[in-house]
Amino acid sequence: MALIDALRAEVLKSKRSLALWMAFLAPLMIEVLDFVLYFQRGYIRTDVEDAWLWLGQSTLSYWSLLMLPLFVALETALLSNVEHANEGWKHLFALPIPRATTYAAKQILAMAISGFSTFSLLGFTLLNGLLLRALRPEIGLDSSIPWGTLVTSAVLVFLGSWLLISLHTWVAARWKSFVVAMGAGIAMTVAGMVVVNWEWGRFYPWAMPGLMANQYMDGRMPVAELLLGSLGGLITAVVGCWEFTRRDVL
């Protein structure tokens, strides 16, 4: 099937580049810092009942509000830059594979990398906690691990991020400049820090995944945001694909 071929080609093109490694390294870096902090401090948090829940929640929140949007901007910029920098589009579009398939492969890989990194973060957080508990039993992670809540939160973050991934995939493909793609990501993410204080801020694509996780932890299932993120993301991907693939390759 053409899409599988296109995905294989994308993975091959990422060889010896940071694109795929980042999915693993970005969450790992956060966890190493966390480990050092908590190990040195000796306790997770004094004012919570369930330290596991707090640990998972705060790490995921920090990741999804700040790191994830920047990470998505970087990944999508890298995936398209490999073509922009090497005049790849004119070669790809003269091959017997539909243009839409090439675009779809880049979008799907960006989604896979984002999902992988989010779930890796969760995995590393849990490993982190177990390691801290083994080395410093007094640290307070005595309760059982709230798997259900944490995994559901991670799934919400992933599905909610589809809209922002689609937007970034399109921007990265449409404009040749790496600076434009990253700059847009940085600007939008920083704006998100302000927008969180606004009542409609929960629908702002760059803040949405993080706010969805927070909402869920507070006991409310963010249905509207879930639909906007996942369905909105798919619709945006289709529209972005249509727009990009009908352009002339000058």
Partner: protein, 306 residues
């Protein structure tokens, strides 16, 4: 009767107020090496990009291998190999890995990679990173990419781009071998007339968007006259002598004169005429018009002669 390999009808494209390609009707026959020539900015690359479906024409249509591009684009592109301007290669991959990427997308067989590497003679460097390749090697890799799916039609836009003289000779040898080795029709564009002259069987001349000439090399050749260039001690007198006998003569300044004439037989006649008139001839050569001469004449930039 074989279908034309490339056939365009009234192909037109504008950029703002400029008509870059103006009602171009290409006719490329199977088995030929078609040299598409014109100065920089004449519309060669734009035409090629329209033929490949990379740019949408504002008017006109394209038929490849007998079928309209608009209807069977994907199937046709599977039978075509293209190298458009610079090669599209990924520096973080080896030569072989680059070929594997394209092979995956065009569904060619694995053995095609070795075959393509062999044709362009990159087997030894195949496992080195492309980032370390010379310009010539990258160009050859670009050609290998175009050859991967054993195309019936090879479209090469400026294949000697960025090559040094040695690289150009190598590429020229390669291009000459292709129709026999691969059975493909070759369509190549260039602004280097001397290069095209060496390999092409058919010529298409484009200038300022319009196709000025299209046909077999001999046909173009026949429209231009040969010259005999003579070096004589007394050019003015020689000129008068020849003109009295009915030849068309032109002075080149200094001691050379050019006579419009055909071939060696005429050259001998002229030589005899001058020698019998007591004029010593110290230089004599028969000049076939080059593609450059014909090009200059056709595009209206002729500077006399011919």
């Amino acid at each position: 009767m074989h279908d034309l390999v490339i056939e365009t009808s009234g192909l037109t494209r504008r950029f703002g107020g400029l008509t870059a390609v103006d009602q171009v009707n290409l006719r490329v026959s199977p088995g030929s090496v078609y040299g598409f020539v014109g100065p920089n900015g004449a519309g060669k690359t734009t035409t090629i990009r329209m033929v490949l479906g990379l740019i949408r024409p504002h008017a006109g249509g394209v038929r490849l291998l007998g079928q309209p591009m608009a209807e069977s684009r994907r199937a046709l592109l599977g039978r075509v190999g293209a190298l458009v301007e610079s090669p599209s290669v990924y520096p973080n991959l080896t030569g072989r890995e680059n070929l594997e990427v394209t092979r995956t997308l065009s569904r060619a067989e694995k053995r095609q990679i070795e075959r393509a590497l062999h044709i362009v003679q990159l087997q030894e460097a195949a496992d080195r990173l492309v980032g370390g390749y010379s310009t010539g090697m990258k160009q050859r890799l670009g050609l290998a990419l175009a050859l991967l799916n054993e195309p019936e039609l090879l479209i090469l836009d400026e294949p000697t781009n960025g090559l040094d003289p040695a690289g150009m000779i190598e590429m020229r040898e390669l291009l000459r071998r292709l129709p026999d080795e691969c059975g493909a029709t070759v369509f190549l564009s260039s602004h280097l007339l001397a290069e095209v002259e060496q390999v092409a069987t058919h010529i298409g001349i484009i200038d300022r968007g319009k196709l000025r000439f299209q046909g077999p090399w001999e046909e173009l050749h026949a429209t231009m006259k040969e010259h005999v260039v003579l070096g004589v001690k007394r050019p003015a007198l020689a000129k008068k002598t020849l003109e009295r006998a009915g030849w068309a003569v032109r002075s080149n300044g200094s001691d050379r004169i050019t006579v419009t004439a055909n071939g060696n037989a005429d050259a001998a006649l002229i030589n005899d005429l001058l020698v019998n008139a007591g004029l010593h001839v110290f230089h004599l050569s028969v000049q076939r018009p080059t593609l450059e001469d014909m090009f200059l004449t056709l595009t209206g930039n002729a500077q006399g002669g011919g």
